[in-house]
């Protein structure tokens, strides 16, 4: 089979690589700036961006069938479900204002 879905070119790979390196440098630099709680947000935002770039280009999802999108999406969606529902418990413990058990130790 000739490669009928057009994979990325070498030029795209290099561009992807450059942006990944740039984002790595950026995340280290930002880590040393005091942004308060936004440090976490920015660091995670950059990490997500990098992961998306890798998935789309290096892992060819941008050029892949709908099914691959669906599979990758399902993995991420259920990961978020795990995070969200587990965190929901920890965040809302003690909302009742009762001496609830929201402190460990």
């Amino acid at each position: 089979m000739a490669d009928d879905h057009h994979g990325p070119t070498v030029r795209i790979y290099l561009a992807v690589f450059a942006s990944l390196m740039f984002l790595t440098a950026l995340t280290v630099w930002v880590a040393f700036q005091d942004l308060g709680m936004f440090n976490d947000v920015v660091a995670l935002g950059i990490a997500c961006t990098k992961a998306t770039i890798v998935i789309l280009f290096f892992m060819h999802v941008k050029y892949a069938s709908r099914l691959t999108w669906l599979l990758a999406g399902a993995g991420i969606l259920f990961l978020l479900i795990l995070f969200a529902f587990a965190m929901a418990d920890y965040v809302s413990r003690g909302w009742l204002g009762m001496p609830a058990s929201h402190y460990l130790q």
Binding site: L96, G97, M98, P99, A100, S101, H102, Y103, L104, Q105
Partner: protein, 316 residues
């Protein structure tokens, strides 16, 4: 109390009737649907028995209206039950403000219970009839679960933190106390008895017997034994905050934020003092982790709760 062959638990708390009402409500719903399906499939089996080997019945693909009908009806009924059950749940976990305080420590494999007046019991709990009782519970080792079937109450007892449970006994008698969460070898022997006494009998029981030191007195002794009073002076001049009248208030913390001074906060402040330091104080208090038992911490909490300032400021 118990007949030889009972089929239903005693109804000995204010919750029992409400919980049983929900039980029978759902039961009626279930019986209805189960009978509906069973009667239908039995009728079909009789009526549509295969007559000959090459019989092919009329094929029916489906019916959208029917599908919507039997999707919507169960959904609506389920939501109705959800509302009923959740309203009941909130009632079951919200103690009235004037409830008596008792303390429970679970360990492999016994229940250690303590009354506000200081009376300690093991695997036995005496409570007065008609009075709301709120339990503050923790475990010394693994998970346990405090369960009184006749009261329809249960709550896991978790090491490292406090959980709560409350009830109001409505029938004099003796009832089972079980550990419902598997906790090891003798799990099934981690059982006890709850005795519901007439209030005057309860008073008599309390004053009888020995070792009747009120729990906050024991706490006060610990308070001095561990030299807490050298920093936590009642007039607020010490290196630590005055603890008088502190319980139940919301305090500002060093570094921002607030905390409600409750059992969990006091426990944390004893075991891990620097975690939430009150505003205006330094994190100089040493940890007492490993030095005070769970029961000792409970006694200290009771003592701190009992410290009142003459003109109590508003709780909020």
């Amino acid at each position: 109390m118990q007949t030889d062959f009972p089929l239903f638990p005693d109804q000995a708390s204010s919750f029992a009737l409400q919980v049983d009402a929900l039980y029978f409500g759902i039961l009626a719903l279930c019986v209805f649907f189960a009978l509906l399906v069973v009667i239908l499939v039995v009728i079909f089996a009789i009526k549509y028995q295969r007559k000959s080997d090459d019989e092919v019945p009329r094929q029916i693909a489906g019916h959208l209206g029917l599908e919507i009908f039997w999707t919507a009806i169960p959904a609506v009924l389920a939501l109705g039950v959800f509302v009923w059950a959740t309203v009941l749940y909130f009632h079951l976990i919200t103690p009235p403000p004037n409830a008596m305080e008792m303390y429970v420590v679970g360990k492999q494999w016994m229940w250690k219970l303590q009354h506000p007046e200081g009376k300690k019991e093991i695997n036995e709990l005496h409570v007065p009839l008609g009075e709301s009782v709120r339990l503050t519970m923790t475990s010394e080792d693994v998970l346990h679960s405090f369960y009184i079937p006749a009261f329809r109450v249960k709550k896991d007892v978790v090491p490292g933190r406090y959980t709560n449970l409350w009830f109001k006994a409505t029938q004099v008698g003796s009832y089972h106390l079980f550990c419902a969460e598997f906790c090891g070898t003798e799990h099934s022997r981690m059982i006890g008895t709850v005795h519901v006494l007439e209030p005057q009998d309860y008073e008599a029981w309390l004053t009888g017997g020995t070792a009747n030191e009120p729990i906050e007195v024991a706490g006060e002794r610990l308070f001095e034994q561990y030299a807490c009073h050298t920093c936590h002076k009642m007039d607020g001049t010490g290196r630590g905050p005055s603890l008088a009248g502190l319980f139940g208030k919301t305090v500002a913390l060093e570094g921002g934020g607030t905390a409600l001074v409750d059992e969990a906060y006091i426990r944390e402040s004893i075991l891990n003092p620097s975690a939430k330091v009150m505003a205006g104080y330094k994190p100089i208090m040493p940890t007492f982790k490993g030095q005070i038992s769970e029961e000792g911490i409970i006694q200290l909490i009771a003592y701190i709760k009992s410290l009142k300032v003459p003109e109590l400021t508003s709780m909020e």
